[in-house]
């Protein structure tokens, strides 16, 4: 467990300012939030939490990258997450066993916020708590849209067509002008 308040000492308030969800917060709220975040340093390959464990905390990644794996599926890597992203936010808001195992890919620093602290924040600094919840909702919603798309594709729906790339070097049309007319005339007379 890290030291409470260490995030404030590490300039956590500045990191928080970089999040869209925390932009609307005043400096006082950002400082209030960074005071309750605990800093945790992870060494490479160190696990942050294991699938099936009860989860109390969510983590904001400050540095490094983390990888989520599903134990049941031969440890298949599910996704990588980097600075500014949230990890473990679901069980923090809605208690349930952790659905994945998350470990650090390289050395990483995360800021931890547990459920009880979030609840306290709701009373002491409601705007800060609101910023956290908004970040959770955005994270979950983005993943939900992505999952919906994958489910549709698995069920045989064609993938949404990406914007059409510019047509690749089509055979050049004869240029207008004297030469073009000559080429056209030659082709026409074939």
């Amino acid at each position: 467990m890290g030291k409470p308040g260490a995030a404030a000492a590490e300039g956590g308030a500045d990191l928080l300012a970089a999040f869209q969800a925390f932009k609307a917060l005043g400096a006082a709220d950002r400082i209030a939030l960074s005071r309750v975040l605990r800093v945790r340093k992870l060494s490479a390959k160190q696990a942050l939490f294991q699938e099936g464990q009860p989860g109390e905390s969510m983590f904001i990644i400050a540095e490094g990258s983390l990888r989520a794996r599903a134990e049941g599926d031969a440890g298949k890597p599910l996704r990588d997450m980097g600075p500014g992203e949230l990890v473990g936010e679901m069980t923090c808001i809605d208690p349930a066993p952790r659905s994945v195992t998350v470990h650090a890919v390289s050395t990483a620093t995360v800021y931890e916020l547990d459920r009880a602290t979030l609840e306290r924040l709701r009373h002491d600094a409601p705007r800060a708590a609101q910023g956290v919840t908004e970040l959770v909702i955005r994270t979950v919603t983005t993943r939900l849209r992505e999952l919906d798309r994958r489910i549709a594709v698995t069920l045989g729906e064609p993938e949404a067509t990406p914007p059409k790339p510019a047509p690749a070097a089509a055979p050049e049309a004869p240029k207008a002008g004297a030469l073009g007319r000559l080429v056209g005339w030659l082709r026409g007379s074939e």
């Binding site: 599903a70 919840t133 909702i137 939900l144 069920l155 729906e157």
Partner: protein
């Protein structure tokens, strides 16, 4: 039955003090729908979320041309919450399974509630977060099942392939051993 009483049927809002409930009651609109009525249409632009006060609804989605029943939601559930967040098209339809009472909260009112910093806003936001998380869990489970089913099908195909091959081999054996023994005249 007042809208405040309706709001108390939503677990996240139950413990709100009276003045906060009154604020919320002022901004939501109550809607009674009969069984079969469409509350949310898949693909339509989303501008609101709903609290299910009474009755049950079905979440239906047409995927790859086939209609599917994704989920059934009970009293006290929040639905349509993604619409409050990204404003994208509705990902599924929601249809009343029984006569229902819902409270609709429009996006603009949700945003105002949040920027007011009121407790009502915090609680609604919590309900939205919880509903989104549960929806994500259901979707994760569904995708895992679908992928497992596809894998099982592939295995089945491989097994069938092997069987056909085995049968062919067997046929050859039958053909070989089943030949009437030719008796040569002594």
């Amino acid at each position: 039955m007042s809208i405040e009483d309706d709001l108390r049927r939503i677990p996240a809002l139950r413990d709100l003090p009276e003045p906060e409930l009154a604020v919320l009651a002022f901004v939501v609109s109550r809607r009674d729908a009969s069984a079969g009525e469409v509350l949310i249409q898949q693909g339509a632009p989303s501008r609101s979320c709903f609290f299910l006060v009474r009755g049950e609804v079905e979440v239906r989605k047409t995927i790859a041309g086939s209609p599917r029943l994704l989920n059934t939601l009970d009293e006290g559930t929040t639905f349509g919450q993604i619409g409050l967040v990204d404003g994208g098209p509705r990902s599924a339809s929601v249809v009343a399974r029984t006569p229902v009472v819902v409270l609709e909260l429009r996006r603009a009112d949700y945003d105002n509630l949040l920027s007011s910093g009121r407790l009502a806003g915090l609680r609604v936001q919590e309900a939205v977060a919880r509903a989104a998380i549960r929806q994500l869990r259901t979707a994760t489970h569904r995708l895992a099942l679908l992928e497992a089913r596809n894998q099982a099908r592939e295995l089945e195909n491989v097994r069938h392939g092997l069987c056909d091959w085995d049968v062919d081999v067997l046929k050859v054996e039958v053909v070989k051993t089943g030949l009437p023994k030719v008796r040569y005249p002594r």
